[in-house]
């Protein structure tokens, strides 16, 4: 296959960026999208041009490191996969492919196609956990959890933290990401004691990071490589409101 790439190049966070055009020759349909970029980068290095920088690591769709806005869609044209799982057989010989980084004020560009998603970590640090010290746990089978609840919590827990939901959203909202964690822990019996406090802290941090609000467009759900559902957002709103209306006192008194 022979392709033309239009790629966002940006030296660092403080420099202006622009689109550059590169040919991608000798591309096999069996290559993954990132392997195609590897081939292009090898040819750039041979010409002593700095390779296109992009984030990637596991290359099997689970680490959440890869990103890329491909032809206007996070993780490219196919549903429910990450960029590293996208293969070139999804494109046609002669295609022009536009590749951009995630666009969101809370995700500043680091270089070229890589962005800083540390805002996600800070939201998790604000409350995305159950407070249990190592060694303080009871026997695992003492906690009975109905299979449907465990499965539902698992579905929320499969979020890989890639940020496609934010990139897809016209408001750059992080609500799908945040709600997935709140839902996972909020569904489980172990998560009950801190349930409302958790929702408040995580939402407060989300707001502080500058993510936008949710207007129920559903683009996040459509683009999520792990198919995290909008139901998570409803659950989060429920917990958040419940915390605001009925549990302020309880939360204030449970501080560490």
């Amino acid at each position: 296959m022979k392709l033309t790439l239009k790629v966002w190049r940006q030296k660092d966070a403080n420099s202006a960026g622009k689109m550059e055009t590169y040919p991608a020759d000798n591309i096999s349909p069996d290559m993954s999208f990132l392997e195609m970029l590897d081939v292009v980068n090898e040819s750039l290095i041979h010409k002593n041009i700095e390779p296109i920088h992009f984030d990637h690591d596991c290359r099997e769709g689970i680490c959440g490191m890869c990103s890329l806005y491909i032809n206007g869609q996070p993780h490219g044209p196919k549903r429910a996969i990450t960029t590293c799982q996208l293969h070139m057989r999804s494109f046609k010989d002669g295609d022009t492919i536009t590749i951009e980084p995630w666009r969101a004020a809370a995700f500043p560009v680091i270089k070229d196609l890589a962005v800083d998603r540390s805002a996600f970590d800070r939201i998790q640090q604000a409350g995305g956990y159950i407070s249990v010290n190592t060694g303080a746990a009871q026997d695992a089978n003492n906690i009975l959890i109905p299979k449907v609840i465990a499965d539902e919590a698992f579905n929320s827990a499969t979020c890989i933290g890639c940020g496609a939901c934010v990139a897809a959203c016209k408001n750059a909202s992080a609500m799908l990401f945040v709600s997935a964690k709140i839902t996972q822990l909020g569904l489980l019996p172990q998560g009950q004691p801190e349930r409302y406090r958790r929702a408040q802290s995580m939402v407060a941090q989300m707001d502080e990071e500058g993510f936008g609000n949710c207007t129920n467009t559903g683009a996040c759900e459509a683009e999520c490589p792990k198919e995290i559902s909008l139901t998570n957002i409803s659950r989060m709103n429920n917990d958040f409101l419940s915390a605001k209306l009925f549990r302020e006192e309880e939360i204030a008194h449970s501080g560490e």
């Binding site: 660092d12 096999s28 069996d30 290559m31 993954s32 990132l34 392997e35 081939v39 090898e42 290095i45 041979h46 002593n48 041009i49 700095e50 390779p51 990637h56 690591d57 596991c58 290359r59 099997e60 769709g61 689970i62 680490c63 959440g64 490191m65 996969i81 799982q85 293969h87 057989r89 890589a114 800083d116 540390s118 970590d121 998790q124 604000a126 409350g127 995305g128 956990y129 159950i130 249990v132 010290n133 190592t134 060694g135 746990a137 695992a140 089978n141 906690i143 959890i145 109905p146 299979k147 465990a150 499965d151 919590a153 698992f154 827990a157 499969t158 890989i160 933290g161 489980l188 172990q190």
Partner: protein
Amino acid sequence: MELDGKVPAGPLANKWSKYKFDLKLVNPANKRKYDIIVVGTGLAGASAAASLAELGYNVKAFCFQDSPRRAHSIAAQGGINAAKNYQNDGDSVFRLFYDTIKGGDYRAREGNVYRLAEVSVNIIDQCVAQGVPFAREYGGLLDNRSFGGSQVSRTFYARGQTGQQLLLGAYSALNRQINAGKVKMYTRTEMLDVVVVDGHAKGIVTRNMINGQIDTHSGHAVLLCTGGYGNVFYLSTNAIGSNVTAAWRAHKRGAFFANPCYTQIHPTCIPVTGDHQSKLTLMSESLRNDGRVWAPKTVEIAQKLQKKEITADQVKEDDRDYFLERKYPAFGNLVPRDVASRNAKEMADEGKGVGASGLAVYLDFADAIKRLGEDTVRAKYGNLFDMYIQITDENPYKQPMRIYPAVHYTMGGLWVDYNLQTSVPGLFALGECNFSDHGANRLGASALMQGLSDGYFVIPFTLGDYLAKQGPKKVDENHPAFAQTKQDVIDHVNKLISLKGTKTTNEYHRDLGHIMWEYCGMARTEEGLIKAKKMIQELKVDFWKNAIIVGKNEEVNASLERGGRVADFIELGELMVDDALMRRESCGGHFRLESQTDDGEALRDDENFAFVAAWEFMGENQPERLNKEKLEFEAVHLSQRNYA
């Protein structure tokens, strides 16, 4: 030198509990006077950092990824073993210990392995308490499945994403401590050296991967939790970023490197399609619970399959050889990984491999689908099947999967004693980056167990003993050793940056991988290894002459990062070959063609090789010195492994 593993005396079952009592403690008020450096935030690193911070130590944690949640533990699929005996099928701590020692072909330390089996039950409790959503039965109890090398169901799992769920659990515990101010987290930061003062590890040197800044960090102890070195083969199931640099630089500062030739080739990976391939993808061992491995009985049929003249479902039952079930009726498709891999290679070598390259065998779910229905199979393995479809464009619900062995895990690593301390006092190694628990072959679902055992339940005790004996007085960063080590790192970086040759570091890495796979892969011979050693030495000289690294240090520079890692892999590759040459026996994943039984199984030589080989760095381009730790077996009887 004869090494002492410091395994406590006394009966096996009491060693750890007695030892824990004998260890010195740091009192709660004094813990805040100690600074601990943790490098790597996978299962071992995140669990250690969180647990130590909970105890009151000040922790600095480092990872090269953009978030601790990305560490490669996240990709582990199948599950985690624990001797809970929830299934009432005869499991016990001793059985898990025994299976692990036997699976490792009697090349692991008894005391360590028993402790691992003992704390395995606590790991499951801890993870459930954190909210890890393990698979459950309808009654609300935890579900189990079977893995290779065992005849009980002791593997806990979260669909095909167990590593992800366990890591997110450890990550949440880590986040709680970051929020509490007890852990300071450094992301996109790569460790490039260890600072050693008067023989003790007192800090590290790092490079900030955003702006290239080289910094020093001091601490009372340094914990390396930096994973394995499977990427020395270029193609492996490891993440692209997985590397040996932290461990290797520590090795060059005095930490012995043990059993580097023990590498695990996983039997069920998606076969290679071409030279463009950047990594290989595993299909979880759990698939062998329901999938049946086979190859055509004759070369003629194999050739027709290779040329796509017929499809797999057209091969008659009588023309199929379910070779694992045939040769190992007791364990069937669930033999250990090294055995399954070697048998698949044997089929391919005999010309009975399938797929365009002939380098694959089938993993067939037709029977399982008939027995359980497609929906049940989808519920159990759906995400793995989807992954297979994405990569191969073939449908495993209709046609059997094509699988072939690929490098997956490294049992070798930094030598540690029972305390997880390396040969450099104050420098500890946890998880895959140490050598300790898996001998010459790791059983499935045991890597997660070991990483979390080391981090949650071993290091919090053994580290305290070291710290209590050292006292809280700190060597600060004004000590000349910090400036010197930092300068060494800067010089090394500058040397890499000055390389403006003609061959990319990726090309060197691929060349190294070809050498390692060909001569130090699934089958090794003296002749091949000698040849490989020479080729690697030539590759190293060529690298430092002709490699090309673009850009400068003071920026995001993937070319520089890759260059440093490849340079270290080349050096490690040579040591692996030395180790494989020295070990003239076969054991587990190390298969010397010169040493096999009449049936073609790995033939150990216990008289001469029942030891851990711990290599000592003697200077650049000097042969390394071999130190031995004798392996003593009290509880198990050494025998030829038999899975038939």
